[in-house]
């Protein structure tokens, strides 16, 4: 009994540490306060600013647009890479694994800086084309897609593909109808991971983005250095919106996967 109590207290303390700042900020985002601790009346003005302030709206849509482009690219490249690696000889597969591991273990600062050095300094590519930014973030995200698709391929029964061929499928059809179905959950996990990594990224964006473009991360870091309270408190609202959105996504995706594994178990 005492052990259970210790466990509960410990867990609650950690949850408090992780969630208190977000929740307190969420509370104050609905008031007129410009600092935590001020007692002011209820107000939605932060949310109005968030969705009407031209600069903020541009940054939010830009960040999500970028994340979408990067994640689609990453999912295509990472999945193809996992397929290629899985069906290659062992030595080539190890080469894939090694190269793929570099962005995963590397510090984001170094990844961002190295992509900047190669594309912008060495090749003289124009930042304003957004290409360095998209390439840089894809180099960060695609390896995580690869890592979530590869285990699916390993779990797959290799006889399924052979059976499809025996039953008259062309290799392309067998891939589309059999293999693709098996790896789809891995691709979805990889895609979600890529979205989150791109939304979270600060370093690669800083080193490769066009000067006029800001992501949420680069904007927040610059905004907190200034003293514009209107923007500052609107960012509290942004934090709250993102928190609610992420909670919904995580809950829904887990309910869906739980349902699906329930079905599979019943089969």
């Amino acid at each position: 009994m005492r052990k259970r109590l210790t466990a509960t207290v410990w867990l609650m303390a950690v949850l408090l540490f992780l969630y208190a700042p977000i929740l307190v900020l969420a509370f104050y985002s609905f008031t007129e306060a410009t600092m935590i601790g001020q007692v002011r009346g209820f107000s939605l003005h932060n949310y109005v600013t968030l969705f009407t302030h031209e600069e903020l709206v541009g940054i939010i849509t830009g960040t999500f647009g970028l994340a979408l482009v990067v994640s689609v690219l990453s999912t295509i490249l990472g999945t193809l890479g996992a397929l290629g690696a899985f069906y290659s000889r062992k030595r080539i597969r190890i080469a894939y694994d090694l190269a793929n591991q570099i962005p995963v273990v590397n510090a984001d600062v170094v990844t961002g800086f190295s992509v900047c050095i190669l594309l912008i300094v060495f090749f003289g590519m124009d930042k304003n084309t957004y290409l360095p930014l998209i390439i840089g973030q894809t180099a960060l995200c695609a390896p995580f897609v690869y890592l979530s698709v590869l285990p699916r391929l390993k779990q797959m029964d290799p006889r399924l593909y052979e059976a499809a061929l025996d039953l008259g499928c062309t290799p392309r059809q067998a891939l589309q109808k059999v293999v693709f179905r098996e790896i789809l959950p891995g691709m979805i996990t990889g895609f979600m991971t890529a979205i989150m990594l791109s939304l979270d990224d600060y370093f690669i964006a800083t080193y490769t983005k066009p000067a006029v473009f800001d992501t949420i991360s680069t904007y927040v870091v610059n905004a907190t250095k200034g003293s514009q309270t209107e923007i500052k408190t609107a960012l509290w609202a942004l934090s709250t919106v993102i928190f609610v959105a992420i909670t919904l996504v995580v809950v829904i995706s887990n309910v869906v996967t739980a349902d699906r594994s329930g079905e599979e178990g019943a089969r």
């Binding site: 259970r4 466990a7 410990w10 867990l11 950690v14 540490f17 992780l18 700042p21 977000i22 307190v24 104050y28 600092m35 935590i36 601790g37 490249l77 990472g78 193809l80 890479g81 996992a82 290629g84 690696a85 069906y87 894939y96 190269a99 793929n100 570099i102 590397n106 510090a107 600062v109 170094v110 800086f113 190295s114 900047c116 050095i117 190669l118 300094v121 060495f122 840089g136 180099a139 695609a142 995580f144 285990p151 290799p171 392309r172 891939l175 991971t193 979270d200 600060y202 370093f203 800083t206 991360s217 927040v220 870091v221 907190t224 509290w236 934090s239 992420i246 909670t247 996504v249 995580v250």
Partner: protein, 261 residues
């Protein structure tokens, strides 16, 4: 047959070569050359003989060590309680614990910063403490997850067996639990230590004007000093290589990346 299955990997192989491997080679090239393109080790010699630079290296190492130790101390019991089933619905609680890592880290740091400003009156009074708190807050979920993944697979009967054979709590923890959970510890440490040495945004946001290794890259970037920036990157890459090698020796869970969600 129009294509073989292994040819599907060609676009990604090219992508990795061009945008992952080649950038590192170019970084090495810049690190070992000077402004006129001649080979030199001067960049490194200057770094390792400059007291201020070494101070930065030591300061980042201290911050990273404290942050990693704190994360481990907080996360280890958490992961254990959840994996051991001492708390009902362990998997759901785990999800709640790691959920914050999906929220943009600059926004989470903003939240922590506002709380600390309120508690301390002025952030500038405790830059070092605030940096440690900020980093622990930011990286904690990345420590909990690999620890939980390892401990969930761990054979908990071994712990009971050790107890039955008369081992004290300390002996059980030191001789049984920690060795069994080593892969998770190593994965967690590698996921926290390196960001803690390089993530200078935490320091910027907490008004800590001292530099860590990452800040050096940032300032060389702003000064268009590609050679010294590359030199610092190379030093960090060596460190990363060393850590990966150690974690491989220690048998870290290599699937950490795929298991984030």
């Amino acid at each position: 047959m129009a294509f073989t299955r292994k040819q599907l990997g060609i676009p990604y192989a090219l992508f990795l070569l061009l945008f992952v491997v080649l950038p590192l080679l170019v970084v090495f090239y810049y690190a070992f050359t000077n402004g006129s393109g001649q080979f030199t080790t001067e960049n490194f010699v200057q770094f390792f003989t400059n007291q201020k630079a070494i101070g930065t290296l030591v300061y980042s190492a201290v911050i990273a060590l404290i942050t990693t130790a704190l994360c481990l101390l907080i996360a280890y019991p958490c992961a254990y309680f959840l994996a051991k089933g001492r708390i009902p619905h362990g998997a759901a609680w785990l999800l709640i614990l790691v959920l914050p890592m999906w929220i943009n880290f600059t926004l989470r740091l903003t939240a922590m910063k506002e709380i600390l400003s309120f508690l301390e009156g002025n952030l500038a009074f405790h830059p070092f403490l605030n940096t440690i708190i900020g980093m622990t807050y930011d990286f904690l979920p990345f420590m909990i997850l690999p620890l939980y993944n390892t401990m969930e697979k761990m054979d908990h009967q071994l712990i009971d067996a050790a107890r039955d054979l008369g081992a004290s709590d300390a002996v059980v923890i030191w001789r049984v639990m920690i060795p069994l959970s080593m892969p998770g510890i190593v994965s967690g440490v590698t996921m926290v230590f390196l960001p803690a040495m390089t993530n200078y945004v935490v320091l910027d946001m907490m008004y800590n004007s001292t530099y860590i290794m990452g800040s050096l890259i940032g300032s060389y970037f702003s000064a268009y000093n590609w050679h010294d920036g590359s030199m610092i990157s190379t030093v960090l890459l060596l460190l990363i290589g060393l850590m990966s090698w150690i974690s491989k020796k220690a048998g870290a869970d290599s699937e950490e990346g795929g298991a984030i969600l």
